[in-house]
């Protein structure tokens, strides 16, 4: 892997203000406004689980997902600048190009999660046990793999103009389908559908931090299945995308 190339990819990431605001500030702002104002609430029907704790782990999963999607979305701007075509005319291997995109998406997601944990701890949120915290964070970061691939596909298929609405609406749909925005009802058709959507398992990963179970075989199957499928489609989208834009 070419470290100079990676270094500048990351530098570009943090210099892009609009991108940083979208993927870092939005989940954090949601947490600070909604979480802070309901700080003392306890979620009914639970064993004294504080709303703000639940909301922090949920927002960590949501923020990670947005960072993952937005990582690939930058490709649309690079294509419209003719940059992607130019990169194809360098010895940069497609595999290394995609690794670069996946890593930058991960850096974004990790920053988002870290910021939420810091904000949460300032608000007095505590997760019981390091093991539980590590399991939650690890599963969240695995669970966003399909979304990194989806972001790359979107980057190659959409234009700069259609990207923002597609990202906003796409993220909202996945959040609702996966039950990321609240405790939700855990039965019925919504859940049956939700279990096959990868964002559901990001939400489940978040819940590990507040006493939920780690993924069973179905969770691994859904996340890995979508990762492989979308990963293959992302590689194909990159290979086919050689036209002038």
């Amino acid at each position: 892997m070419n470290l100079v190339y990676l270094r500048f990819e990351l530098l570009r990431l943090f210099r892009n203000k609009r991108f940083v605001i979208f993927s870092l500030v939005l989940p954090l702002a949601l947490f600070e406004t909604i979480g802070h104002s309901n700080k003392a609430d306890v979620i009914p029907g639970t064993n004294g689980l504080k709303f703000i704790t639940f909301f922090m782990v949920s927002m960590a999963g949501y923020g990670a997902m947005i960072g993952a999607l937005a990582g690939g979305a930058r490709i649309a701007a690079e294509r419209s600048a003719g940059w992607s075509r130019l990169l194809r005319l360098t010895p940069l291997k497609p595999r290394n190009y995609l690794i670069g995109k996946v890593l930058t998406a991960y850096v974004m997601s990790c920053c988002s999660v870290a910021l939420l944990f810091i904000a949460g701890s300032i608000e007095g949120v505590r997760i019981d046990g390091f093991g539980r915290w590590a399991e939650m964070t690890g599963l969240i970061l695995l669970g966003i793999l399909p979304f990194i691939a989806l972001g790359i596909i979107m980057g190659h298929k959409l234009t700069v103009d259609t990207m923002s609405p597609a990202l906003g609406i796409g993220a909202a749909i996945f959040a609702v389908l996966g039950g990321m925005w609240g405790p939700g009802t855990s039965s019925g058709t919504m859940r049956d559908i939700g279990e096959w959507v990868p964002s559901y398992w990001i939400a489940q990963a978040s819940h590990v931090g507040v006493g939920g179970d780690v993924w069973g075989s179905k969770g691994w199957l859904v996340v890995l299945g979508w990762s492989l499928l979308l990963g293959a489609l992302a590689a194909q989208a990159f290979r086919r995308d050689t036209q002038r834009v």
Partner: protein
């Protein structure tokens, strides 16, 4: 026999696109051989197939038929070896990096790149090295893109309409810079639709029209062919074959009473026409213009579609 001495070979290249009104034959059977060190202009009007030919040469487009060989390699192999430097028609400058950072990033991708400082100097942009690349003028941006094309220290430099957005002065500056690089023994192929540019800066002009090579030779020869003027007049009773014998006339046509003389020397032709045929009237002399010249050159080839 070494493959390294081989230059660039395009053999029977063809590409057809599906357009809204049926298939568009963008390139139909192009054969071009270029020796190492040559500077070649691909000259043609819009839609002649220049960009499609270049895209196939670079491996960005797969030809429907024919082969491309670059120094004995396929386009993909030549790209992987860092043997090609490319300046695309537009864009290709990222916003979030300075000029120096952009060049450093790109240099890191190649096996034997130029020193970044040397590339900056060659392109004449040392003074703007620290500026963000989105805050540059058109001419400066063009120089940055040229530096990006040179940074790999390529054997072949491909420039697709490199001066299309530049004013006259910036254009002249650009070509002076390019000359500096090609004098290092590089092979250069550039596409343009300016005859003067092809004439002044290439060793050889390849004329493309309607997806075919219609002329290929040194600039002086091509210029004589497409730099022609046309005389139109009304004149009855004289055959085209007779008119073709007039001094300065290379070709004559007749449609009813209207005659058209394609001239290599329109002054001599006009003088001769008026002296020989006193009843010639409605005279009109026009510079052929590149488009017109192309149409006339391709008229001989017949319509293939």
């Amino acid at each position: 026999m070494t493959t390294m001495s081989a230059g660039i070979e395009l053999i029977s290249l063809a590409k057809t696109f599906n357009g809204p009104n049926g298939p568009v034959h963008a390139v139909r059977g192009v054969d071009i051989t270029i020796a190492p060190g040559e500077t070649v202009a691909l000259l043609g009007p819009n839609g002649a197939g220049k960009s499609t030919t270049i895209d196939m040469l670079l491996g960005l487009l797969h030809p429907d038929a024919g082969t491309v060989s670059l120094f004995g390699m396929t386009p993909a192999e030549a790209v992987a070896a860092g043997a090609i430097g490319v300046m695309l028609q537009s864009g290709a400058v990222l916003r979030d990096l300075s000029v120096r950072e952009l060049l450093t990033m790109m240099a890191s991708l190649y096996p034997k790149p130029l020193d970044v400082g040397e590339a900056l100097e060659l392109a004449g942009i040392t003074d703007i090295a620290k500026q963000r690349s989105d805050k540059l003028s058109g001419g400066q941006t063009q120089r940055v893109r040229f530096a990006l094309a040179m940074i790999s220290n390529p054997d072949l430099l491909v420039l697709d309409e490199p001066t299309v957005a530049l004013d006259v002065e910036a254009r002249r500056d650009f070509w002076a810079t390019m000359r500096g690089f090609s004098e290092r023994g590089k092979t250069v192929i550039f596409a343009t639709h300016y005859l003067e540019e092809a004439d002044s800066y290439s060793d050889r002009i390849i004329l493309l029209a309607r997806g075919e090579v219609v002329a290929d030779g040194p600039p002086t020869e091509i210029k004589a062919r497409v730099g022609s003027r046309t005389i139109r007049a009304t004149l009855a009773g004289v055959g085209a074959d007779v008119l073709e014998q007039l001094p300065g006339v290379s070709r004559a046509e007749r449609r009813g009473e209207a005659i058209t003389l394609i001239c290599s020397d329109s002054d001599a032709a006009l003088r001769a026409l008026l002296t020989t045929y006193e009843d010639a009237r409605d005279l009109n002399v026009s510079g052929a213009g590149l488009e017109q010249a192309f149409l006339e050159l391709t008229a001989d080839a017949g319509d293939l579609s």
